[in-house]
């Protein structure tokens, strides 16, 4: 019986997890409570079973995630029996950086990019495992599975190590590090098909339900708490294709209330997944520039 593409993707992702564990001294799994994180955590648990994954989870928090994401995060870490490290950039906290007053670009840079670098330095992690996929965004299409970062966390897209067969070279000097992306070859549809096959719990916000919303700048935002400071919320039946900080995550109007519905919707989809991600549209080569600075 020939393997299906999900079987092969799973085999390859688990192989990548095991290589990180074998080659890195202090790996960490970046966990954000999104669907890719859920799949990543599931694969990590499979890879090392019956032992627990030999690394902690790291959530680089901004304080602006959906409440449902925080709940899932804490539950998932406890279920997995893994240590959960939550890092909030103290500088951003002190300055009160937020997406409403400071805009998405500054908010993302200070809380997420700088926060991630701080957390990696603080705990001396030398390999950060993330859920990025190459189909997500153009500059990710050329990223290695084991992606080398300088001592300053910089990514040099023109000088990446060639990656042949299944051989990963994670040798580095002290202070340098790696980002590793076990889901590199997965597409959004693969992720959902795998969620369905394995019965993985994902955040409820992916499933359509009546929710309090407002429309802002052409995007539908969910009123997750009073900080949004808007007037009357309208109830719409919405769901999210991608989750981040709630004031920066655009919802779609949808009736897809189950994994199967989502898969059917995706097959017919005519817009891309990151369309709801406002941080991608900050400037022309936005993601590429963010990645060079150290965004995962």
């Amino acid at each position: 019986m020939a393997l299906t593409h999900l079987d092969r993707l799973e085999g390859e992702s688990i192989h990548i997890f095991r290589e990180v564990a074998a080659q890195a001294e202090r790996p960490v799994l970046l966990y954000s409570a999104g669907k890719d994180s859920s799949v990543l955590l599931h694969l990590a648990r499979k890879a090392f079973f019956p032992a627990p994954p030999p690394f902690p989870l790291l959530h680089v928090d901004t304080g602006w995630k959906f409440a449902a994401m925080y709940a899932l995060r804490d539950r998932a870490a406890a279920d997995a029996g893994m240590e959960l490290i939550v890092h909030r950039n103290p500088e951003a906290e002190r300055l009160g950086i937020n997406p409403l007053d400071h805009g998405s670009e500054l908010h993302t840079r200070i809380w997420k990019t700088e926060g991630l670098k701080q957390a990696l330095d603080l705990h001396r992690f030398d390999a950060a495992i993330g859920g990025a996929r190459r189909d997500e965004e153009k500059s990710r299409a050329k990223e290695r599975i084991f992606s080398f970062r300088s001592a300053h966390h910089r990514w040099d897209p023109k000088n990446q190590r060639p990656e042949l067969w299944r051989l990963y070279n994670a040798r580095k000097a002290p202070g340098e590090s790696f980002r590793a992306f076990p889901l590199s070859d997965w597409t959004e549809l693969d992720v959902w098909e795998y969620v369905a096959r394995e019965g993985i719990e994902v955040c409820d916000l992916y499933f359509a339900a009546p929710r309090p919303t407002v429309e802002q700048g052409g995007a539908i935002l969910m009123v997750d708490d009073e900080r949004l400071g808007v007037g009357d919320a309208a109830v719409r039946t919405i769901r999210f294709r991608t989750l981040g900080c709630y004031p920066l995550s655009g919802a779609i109007e949808s009736k897809a209330a189950s994994v199967e519905d989502i898969i059917a919707e995706l097959r017919a989809a005519r817009t891309s997944e990151r369309q709801g991600r406002m941080i991608d549209f900050d400037s022309g080569a936005s993601m590429e520039a963010k990645k060079q600075e150290g965004y995962f």
């Binding site: 085999g11 688990i14 095991r18 290589e19 074998a22 079973f49 051989l167 590429e288």
Partner: protein, 603 residues
């Protein structure tokens, strides 16, 4: 779009240049298979008017240039991976640029591909670059090629032109199975849907062919390189890895290599492509890098190989230098011999070569410092493909494919000798050591080494002084002063010194030996503690002032190329056993210190 996650997967590489319409073809494949969402298509239409090369038409090529540097310069820098699916199959496309760094990128993209789509421009036919692309994908083990003859609309869908190109191409395809398809990527003819433009063509469209292409599954007996050993508690020892060929189930007899211990699978099952955890019936030694394999048909074990090398780094290969080799889940130190030849990928001609530079492909022997479990690359990519890593810069400098083990290592076994090094040194009443003097020319290495030997001799010690200059009159007379020759010079001196220590002697070696890597290599040839590195240190200005042989003057005059300290680097030792500053320490005093150090090791 996929189908419940149950469709098979095909990985292929697309080869060609922008001029052949490769980006247009891939963009078209993604678009026609419904992978270009409306918001991206809208962005594409506006980009096409700004950067496009197709006038007012949508330029699908713009879908693919990911990095801003690429869009600005209109070139592709690196391999990109694209994803699309039909109801029958999921596809991963390695999109390798045709011009820039073509070998390095194409080898990378082809290493995981099962099939290659090679593009030819119908108006130009088979070009030298077509030969190049075909040679590289064949070398990387691809057996199935689709020849996409593009821009057929520009030759009025001429059947004769298509047939000529197909026939020409079959002449360069070697043993690869070829399917030729006439297409127009721009118009989408025969890409996803069959086109009425070529009524004489009754074959499949490109997508139909890709959906149906039969790639023989990874054949062969069971093999699993061990990545990790899981020991969650005292009762469980699980061996974790990806099955690279065959299948496995409880009860089956397996062998752990290279040790050769046989046992049975206790728990765990799976087939090629799956990552599994296996437990074994017996307590056998097995750790990361070992291979668990079918006991009936195990892979080979060897430490000397002939391999095809693809050089990926700007710095050229140094024969004799030790690199780190990675194969399967194992790593070893590996040394390449001087190339047998380099291959001209356009003509297939074999060219003489002393080294490999960036994007060179050639054949060389290599040896590893320990036995490696392997299979010839044509049998197994996973146990025959390796990379070489520079141990200082940590860069991946080469990819290699094992052709076969050298019979020398398979058949010439180590001859066990009863009189040992220990027995010989006992008879001489001394512990053999190698005192290695390194430093700039004119630092005083030979002078000091000579004094040390005289003292030891007077004390009744059995010694031998190996001097770099003297060796160059005999054993090393064929070597010059290039970096590669310097590496070989030290390798030979190290081997000779090692034999002499095995004879029980205290060996003194005076060599400039400018590179850390080679001094470390000699250090590792000897038992720990037997290599005493003495850095005979002097400021360059002082050595130049002394200039006992008049060499610095010649070097400064440009008459002596590659002179250490002038136009060739000296890498000082980081932690030598002794450092002598001869600008302030007289030679007699230095010799005294070295003798004292040596006697302290003699017990």
């Amino acid at each position: 779009m996929g189908d419940g996650g149950t469709t098979p997967l095909l990985r292929f590489i697309a080869c060609g240049s922008v001029d052949d319409g490769k980006s247009t073809l891939i963009g078209r494949l993604l678009h026609d298979c419904g992978e270009v969402p409306d918001d991206q298509l809208a962005a594409l239409e506006s980009d096409s008017r700004r950067f496009g090369t197709q006038g007012s038409a949508v330029d699908f090529a713009l879908l693919l240039d990911g990095l801003s540097a690429e869009r600005e310069q209109g070139i592709t820098i690196d391999v990109a991976y694209r994803y699309f699916a039909t109801a029958k199959r999921r596809f991963i496309v390695a999109d390798a640029p045709g011009h820039e760094q073509y070998t390095r990128n194409m080898a990378t993209g082809a290493s995981t591909a099962e099939l290659a789509v090679i593009l030819v421009d119908a108006t130009k036919g088979v070009l030298p670059q077509t030969r190049r692309h075909s040679a590289i994908v064949a070398l990387m083990g691809i057996r199935h090629v689709v020849l996409a003859v593009n821009k057929m609309d520009l030759v009025d869908w001429s059947e004769a032109q298509f047939q000529k190109i197909e026939a020409d191409y079959r002449g360069v395809a070697g043993e690869m199975a070829v399917t030729a398809i006439p297409v127009s990527a721009l118009g989408g003819d025969n890409v996803a849907a069959r086109s009425a433009a070529a009524p004489w063509y009754d074959g499949p469209s490109l997508v139909e062919h890709l959906e149906a292409a039969e790639i023989a599954p990874t054949s062969g007996a069971f093999r699993m390189p061990v990545q990790l050993v899981a020991r969650p508690n005292r009762d469980f020892r699980g061996f974790q890895g990806l099955i690279v060929s065959g299948q496995v189930a409880p009860g089956e007899e397996v062998v752990v290599l290279p040790s050769g211990r046989r046992t049975r699978i206790s728990e765990g099952r799976g087939e090629a492509g799956q990552s599994v955890t296996l437990t074994l019936a017996d307590q056998v030694d097995c750790s990361r890098g070992d291979v668990i394999a079918s006991a009936e048909a195990p892979p080979e074990v060897a430490d000397q190989f002939e391999a095809t090398i693809v050089w990926l780094a700007e710095e050229e290969m140094l024969p004799g230098r030790q690199y780190l080799l990675r194969i399967g889940a194992d790593s070893a130190r590996a040394t390449l011999a001087q190339p047998k030849y380099r291959i001209d990928v356009e003509s297939g001609e074999h060219l003489a070569a002393r080294t490999f530079g960036l994007n060179d492909i050639g054949i060389a022997n290599l040896s590893t410092d320990k036995p490696i479990v392997f299979e010839p690359y044509e049998k197994s990519r996973d146990l025959g493909g390796f990379i070489l890593v520079d141990r200082t810069s940590n860069a991946t400098v080469a990819a290699g494919m094992i052709r076969f083990a050298l019979r020398r290592s398979a058949n010439v076994q180590w001859q066990a000798i009863d009189v040992t090094r220990e027995a010989r040194s006992e008879l001489l009443g001394q512990r053999p050591k190698l005192i290695w003097f390194t430093g700039l020319s004119g630092a005083g290495k030979s002078t000091i080494a000579n004094l040390v030997e005289k003292r030891l001799h007077a004390m009744g010690r059995n010694t031998f002084l190996l001097d770099g200059d003297n060796l160059r009159h005999g054993l090393n007379r064929d070597l010059g002063f290039t970096d590669a020759d310097r590496v070989e010079n030290i390798r030979r001196a190290g081997e000779v010194a090692k034999l002499m220590t095995e004879a029980g002697l205290i060996v003194l070696a005076a060599f400039i030996s400018p590179f850390r890597a080679e001094r470390d290599m000699v250090r590792r040839m000897l038992p720990q503690g037997d290599f005493i590195e003495v850095h005979v240190d002097v400021p360059l200005a002082e050595a130049e002032r002394r200039d006992p042989k008049g060499l610095y003057a010649k070097a400064r005059a440009g008459e002596l190329p590659n002179f250490t300290g002038i136009d060739s680097a000296y890498e000082p030792p980081e932690a030598p056993e002794l450092r002598i500053d001869t600008a302030v320490t007289p030679a007699e005093e230095a010799a005294e210190a070295i003798v004292r150090f040596l006697l302290s090791t003699q017990g």
